[in-house]
Subunit: 700 residues, 2 copies
């Protein structure tokens, strides 16, 4: 295995395609590596030159004759293949392929990229790109890109799938004073992808937070593993775009229809302990906050202001975003009462009022930060004529140091009057905004991240040993042998039962006599449904009868159901009639699975029955790695939970049974990759136990 | 009536409490009026001085001896009363009372303010404040405040309920280059309030958009009238804070429980044609956009970018916020195809790709702006090495001029590389942001405003002439004479019927014999319910029977219901048993009313039955001024509509009947102010007609 740290901390770099001509990429890259102060060896490679920028130029990498950690390729796409070969033969460890003209251009480019990747693999090299800006590291330092701008030194590793965005963000960051440890343009991710870069950044001592701009994820499972491990060391924030791009997919299952195009990413990022930013502003706001501020222990926020209006604005923001306004201890309120004028507000939001000097801020901040009922503080300021704004900034920074376990964010509203103070705050790591709302939004993101991080250690995957895997294998084999992909009702119920999910007893009757016998065995009343993999809407064809109470009725219903179905769908394969015991009515829920191409099976839980599509009340989690805690949290976030826990005086339903059924469904779909679709809808939940009424399973 | 324009365009101003001492408010105000370049007469008033800042100082306003339009009061609170008297006697038209120490300080201050207001009224003066920063106008110009900062000239009238916020915003606006026509601090709104200031700003030729920061609204009805009129002339944007402050209210009705603490403000602002901003940033972003950009005709957005990443970010933002990505005409795509390289994206978002010079932007913008399927454009830019960023800015401004009916917003991501271009765009009125999301948010706000403005001319209030007002009056009188505030079921049904809302036939039986007779008259089956204003949960006490099919059953049920109820609630007044015809089952909806202290009755429509509190699916509108179009829109925004319009193949319900029932309920609660609470829940909606099953009316 190559040591990936060499990519950003190389001892020696070759620039293949180095050029003497300003404006050429090969010129810019070489110039940038040298001017960034890179302390290692730099070898220009170009058969047409003898010397570039005072450095000896080599015809090929093979001619360098000394160890080279990284070769940066700035040659045309076609030339990349022989150059990569040369690099491999010369024992070079890593390639950074800046060259474009690969996968992004279509079929031929894709083929070229595949060839490039296979050369890389053959020589046990690793590759950044192709089609990228390159990589930068501010501690090495090295600017192995064609961007003239080099970031300020800092602690954010920024990893981007868009090169143009890198250029824009870089320029923007310099103006804003934002610093980075690494700045990586992933390009086409031919070899190395986000999972690798996350691992690199997780191990980098200069990096305190990892920020990613992603358009897709190359390998879902690996991403989750890498991100979960990295998240335990430092926060990861992701802006995943293309939310709308995947668009509406054709979903034939209920669960599939409930899942939005972005549900899998939401579930996967949360499971990986990754905070998902919803805007570019939020991505960097959160990165800055995590770089400098502690993770809050809870969501109880205190606000200190010298103006009522912004105090109300902030209070609104706190309550609307799901944080809580801290309730102060009696001691806190008594200290505030003693030290503030009568007109001040000693409750949260604390208003030190318009005639306050900086010392009131100092006292108020010290007092509320000391309160054990406060998890984080937002300090707001309007630049009144009497207030020493700069001193308030100093006080804020001092208080941050005095209470290093509570995050502190600021909103200083103003222009010239607050400019210096805002710079001082930024320099000392206090996230500062023009207005109260983004300050509160940053606290909310930090609290959300704290919850995510806690969930990483919330327990092991929930596994069940008492399942009958063999039985399910047999059923699936029989179904496939029968040339079907859809299980008949009784088969699907058997599968559920084999995994410990209680299903309503159900038999497949091939004849009227069998139907009568099964009904007697199951006990009346029974439900009868046509058993055919070709009839999806059984009720519509007259293929369903409910509440049947005697053998005579069963016999009559059997004939009618079969003849109705034959008439409606003459070509349908009819396997007989399903006889199901009619279960007492319970609260209707749905448990199901839909499959994501990147992250595999997702389990769903929500309100069931005919209202599934109307309410769209469903929570999703990845089936892989699903923990008991995740199952509990997915139940709690649905409206179905409101009903199950006892709605309007009704007794609560058996939530333990519901959780078990979800956990067992997850195990079933993990164990059998061939399940492509699964709905249990409805499940009747009872005060004691539950019953799966209708189980639909489709296999590949 | 005083001419309110004099307040911001006075010919002469007296400063009462003018001072020679820097640091005093009376010094600052006088100094600011003079230094702002106010062209009219300024009269310092202070009995202790002969001359201030080179101007003759008068002992009292009465001594000025010349007409004075506005007196600015900077004297202590107690002194304000005699000074106001003096002003009144001297024939001064308007007071601007900067002095604090009134209503905001508690009971005594409130009393003082009441006295001040009565003096103002007695002399037919009008008053800004008390407890305010004062007023500014940049065209007069005049700075009649104690803020040294004076805004840049511009076209936004900013009206604020928070003085400290004024100071902060002013300072901030100078740095950002934001201009204002007026800047008004309302203070305690003792006399003039937001409705007056909106009228003033609506008539001000320099003002193109009115932006308000509000903590409450003094007079709901007047605000709506003023705002509706003003909205036809220019956009109004409001940040209403204190969303969380009103907190949870105790609501005994279903409709009341459905209404959030802020529902009335949402409904009222929408009805008034006012765009509600959700953050301070949004307030000013929208104000800037309306100042310079046309109102879009629709919601189809085109995006032009030179980088894929930001294009995807913007596309996500467009689709997630309810706008639409424009679909280009064949002609547009053909022009783009001809003029862009093969790698470019000619569909929306148009990607002119990374090697683009400014001319590609010019061609692409010209082409998409010309497309009749495009209502607004967002142009995105990443500062590549080859792009002439400044020229792109010029192109954007030119295109804005060429297509003056389509709004154009920009996101130029970068720092130094885009700085000049961003300034150029801002100077020429193109809203420009660091990132794509806020650019799209601005377009969304403009589209929302366009909808609001259209709704202002959507029709007259929906009135019904065929109602029996007299009958309702009689019923209410009888109920009050009976010492009740809650109507019995049959009474409430009668009220509904009197207003043309079909209710299930229902009678009050005082005896078992009556019950049998009524049941026979109504026709079986019937529902029987205990009739008592003291028993709210009738089912719980055994006070309800359904599906009763014969006279014997009725007689038996009557006795049981009465005896169950007596046993459960020995003190309850029992009026007999309600006999109601059992209606065929329909889709359950709720129609109701809840009352807001500021805006009066709100009508509600939503999903009904027992799931009301679970789904919380309800739309609200002001009952006053309710139009047919508003009724239609409130129906359409609920989940109930999904069901009513024909869910999963079911026939549609009678939406006309539903609309009529809502309109008639609105008329009922408008006609009878004494109705404090009203629920019709459930209403059964049928493919033809509907039936109100349970009508609950409480009167004052």
């Amino acid at each position: 295995m190559r040591d990936l740290r060499e990519i950003i901390h190389p001892r020696s770099v070759a620039v293949v395609g180095a050029s003497k001509t300003p404006g050429k990429i090969g010129y810019a890259v070489l110039e940038n590596i040298i001017s960034s102060g890179f302390p290692g060896e730099v070898y220009p490679v170009n058969p047409k030159e003898r010397e570039i920028m005072g450095k000896k130029c080599y015809p090929t990498v093979g001619d360098v004759g000394k160890p080279v950690d990284v070769a940066v390729l700035c040659v045309p796409a076609q030339a990349c293949l022989p150059v990569a070969e040369d690099c491999g033969k010369a024992g070079i460890h890593h390639l950074v392929v800046i060259t474009a003209g690969f996968k992004e251009t279509g079929k031929e480019g894709r083929e070229l990229e595949n060839q490039l990747v296979s050369i890389v693999r053959r020589y046990d090299m690793r590759m950044v790109g192709p089609n990228c800006l390159g990589v930068m590291d501010t501690s090495t330092p090295i600017n192995a890109t064609f961007s003239k701008n080099f970031p300020l030194k800092g602690h954010i590793a920024f990893i981007s799938q868009s090169g143009a965005l890198c250029i824009a963000i870089l320029d923007w960051s310099l103006k804003r004073g934002l610093g980075f440890s690494q700045f990586i343009s992933m390009g086409n991710k031919g070899d190395l992808n986000e999972a690798d870069y996350i691992e690199m950044a997780a191990d980098d001592p200069e990096t305190k937070v990892i920020a990613l701009y992603l358009e897709d994820i190359a390998d879902g499972q690996r991403f989750i593993e890498s991100a979960r491990k990295a998240s335990l060391k430092k926060p990861i924030v992701v802006l995943k775009v293309g939310v709308s791009a995947s668009g509406a997919k054709a979903a034939s299952s209920h669960t599939g229809a409930l899942a939005g195009s972005d549900t899998a990413y939401d579930a996967a990022l949360a499971h990986a302990g990754v905070l998902r930013a919803s805007t570019m502003t939020e991505l960097f706001d959160m990165a800055v906050a995590f770089t400098n501020q502690p993770i809050p222990r809870g969501k109880r926020i205190a606000i200190v202001t010298n103006s009522g209006g912004p105090g109300v604005v902030a209070t609104d923001a706190v309550e609307l975003c799901g944080l809580e306004m801290a309730r102060f201890s009696a001691e806190t309120e008594s200290v505030l009462r003693e030290n503030l004028p009568a007109m001040a507000n000693i409750h949260n939001p604390v208003d030190v009022i318009g005639d306050a000097h900086y010392d009131r801020y100092e006292m108020a901040l010290d007092t509320v930060l000391k309160d054990p009922g406060v998890d984080g503080v937002s300090v707001l300021l309007a630049p009144t004529a009497v207030l020493e704004v700069g001193k308030v900034a100093e006080v804020v920074v001092d208080m941050g140091r005095k209470y290093p376990d509570k995050p502190l964010v600021a909103a200083f509203t103003g222009g010239a009057a607050v400019e210096e103070a805002v710079k001082y705050l930024a320099k000392h790591g206090v996230p500062t905004y023009d207005f109260p709302e983004p300050a509160v939004a940053t606290l909310r993101g930090m609290v959300r991240y704290a919850d995510l991080r806690r969930s990483l250690t919330d327990g092991e995957p929930w596994l069940f040993g008492d399942v009958d895997r063999k039985k399910v294998e047999d059923i699936f084999r029989r179904v496939r042998e029968d040339g079907r992909d859809l299980l008949l009702g009784p088969e699907a119920c058997e599968v559920a039962e084999a995994y410990g999910i209680p299903a309503a007893p159900s038999r497949l009757a091939k004849t009227s006599d069998e139907a009568v016998r099964f009904a007697r065995e199951l006990g009346y009343p029974v439900v009868m449904k046509i058993a055919s993999p070709d009839i999806l809407h059984k009720t519509d064809v007259g293929g369903v009868r409910v509440g049947i109470k005697s053998g005579d009725e069963v016999a009559k219903a059997f004939d009618e159901i079969v003849s109705n179905s034959r008439k409606a769908e003459p070509k349908a394969r009819i396997y007989g009639v399903e006889i199901q015991k009619m279960m007492p009515s319970g609260h209707e829920i749905i448990i199901g699975m839909t499959k994501d191409p990147t992250f595999g099976p997702l389990v769903a839980f929500g309100s069931g029955g005919i209202l599934v599509n109307l309410l769209k009340d469903a929570a999703f989690r990845l089936a892989r790695g699903l923990t008991r805690a995740e199952v509990d949290s997915m139940i709690r976030e649905t409206k179905a939970y409101t009903i199950l826990k006892g709605f309007r005086g009704a007794p609560p339903d058996d939530l333990e049974a519901v959780a078990l059924a979800i956990g067992r469904t997850a195990q079933l779909v993990r164990d059998f990759d061939q399940i492509v679709e699964m709905d249990i809808n409805p499940v009747f939940a009872y005060p004691k136990g539950l019953s799966a009424l209708d189980v639909k399973i489709r296999i590949a």
